[in-house]
């Protein structure tokens, strides 16, 4: 009889542990996108905008120059990649201001919307 009770108890404890683990994973997943913690002061944002704009042009121009060296099409790629680099820099600045984080690539609008609504739900 005693053995039976302890057996049930351990089973129940294990079940609670499993549920806690599941909840913890869920919480981690939910928190991840909300707490983006870069400094958001005016100077910090200005610094980031300046770096992104300059870095975009520099990296684009460098890739263009390297392609020209390789394919001997100077200055075609240099010119094209200069402007594409500037566009990439502006795109990154747009990402800074819309709070889309730093990820290159596309963004799932619905995912952003979902995290926003779940944030709102948390407040209630």
């Amino acid at each position: 009889m005693d053995n039976d009770v302890t057996h049930k108890d351990t089973e129940r404890l294990a079940e609670i542990d499993r549920r806690l683990d599941r909840l913890r994973v869920q919480r981690d997943e939910k928190d991840r996108h909300i707490r983006s913690a870069l400094p958001d002061g005016m100077a910090a944002i200005m610094g980031r905008v300046a770096t992104e704009l300059v870095a975009g042009v520099v990296v684009g121009t460098f890739i263009g120059w390297a392609l020209d060296q390789w394919l001997e099409m100077s200055p075609l790629f240099l010119l094209v990649m200069f402007f594409l680099g500037a566009i990439a820099g502006m795109l990154n600045v747009w990402r800074v201001f819309t709070g889309r984080g730093l990820a290159a690539g596309y963004f799932d609008e619905h995912a952003i919307h979902r995290t926003k609504t779940s944030k709102g739900a948390d407040r209630k």
Binding site: E29, R35, E52, L84, A88, L102, G105, Y106, D108
Partner: protein
């Protein structure tokens, strides 16, 4: 680099001086003041953390408290930015943070050297993070990784252009990561030396001008406090951006 007044140039502090001349296969691999301070950053941070945790107690003392705060700070950063899949990378990220923090802070001690004010140092670190994160993404997702560069729902005509732009924007990462740290340290340390030089120059005029030198001196004290903040903040920014890149690699959109 001294001018006629015996003044030092504010950028003299960034000069790399070889301490032990070495060369290997035609390359100059001298042990420089930069290498010395990298080793010091490793030595000081390691002995601080080991010393603080050697007699670990249930109720932490001051040193143990600081060490545990640093550990928990980075652990929380990894947890909230990368999630539970980020755990295997915690040792690397913690080491990165501590190395940068101690490097930046040691550089604030007068007559020392700030190795993070050299773009090649920060760029190599950023490039290592960039390559590592890309390899992790490729191993985890295989060729699906390249879908990262294709914006969803874009008109088909524009896709080639958009892919090129996204690829550039991906390659911008190591550059902006390294430039941010390097530029902050370079600008801050130059500013400190400019104000210090100003204070010395004005006081050199003697007489009433001595009182005038008080102004840049007070500014210098304030700026030094600000630089301590910048040193910690930039170590944090570098680390959190690493976490975000790692998050992108582990969870493709």
């Amino acid at each position: 680099m001294s001018n006629s007044d015996g003044m030092h140039s504010p950028v003299e502090q960034f000069e790399i001086k070889p301490l032990v001349e070495l060369s290997f296969g035609g390359y100059d691999i001298s042990f420089t003041n930069s290498s010395l301070f990298m080793l010091l950053a490793i030595g000081v941070s390691a002995s601080f953390l080991i010393g603080a945790m050697r007699r670990a107690e249930l109720v932490p003392g001051r040193m143990q408290g600081i060490a545990e705060m640093m550990y928990e700070f980075v652990a929380e950063m990894v947890r909230s930015n990368v999630g539970s899949e980020g755990r295997p990378y915690f040792p690397f990220i913690f080491t990165l943070f501590v190395f940068l923090l101690f490097g930046n802070l040691l550089g604030l001690i007068p007559y020392s050297y700030t190795f993070t004010s050299q773009i090649i140092v920060t760029f190599v670190m950023a490039a290592f993070v960039f390559v590592g994160v890309t390899v992790i993404a490729l191993v985890k997702h295989g060729l699906h990784f390249f879908s990262f560069f294709v914006p969803a729902g874009a008109p088909k005509v524009l896709i080639p252009f958009l892919i090129v732009i996204e690829v550039i924007s991906y390659f911008v990462r190591p550059v902006s990561l390294s430039v941010r740290l390097f530029a902050n340290m370079l600008a801050g340390h130059t500013m400190l030396k400019v104000f210090a030089g100003l204070a010395v120059m004005i006081s050199g005029a003697g007489g009433l001008a001595m009182a005038g030198s008080l102004l840049p001196f007070l500014a210098l004290i304030g700026l030094t406090g600000l630089e301590v903040l910048v040193a910690a903040l930039q170590a944090y920014v570098f680390t959190i951006l690493t976490c975000m890149y790692l998050n992108d690699a582990l969870h493709l959109h």
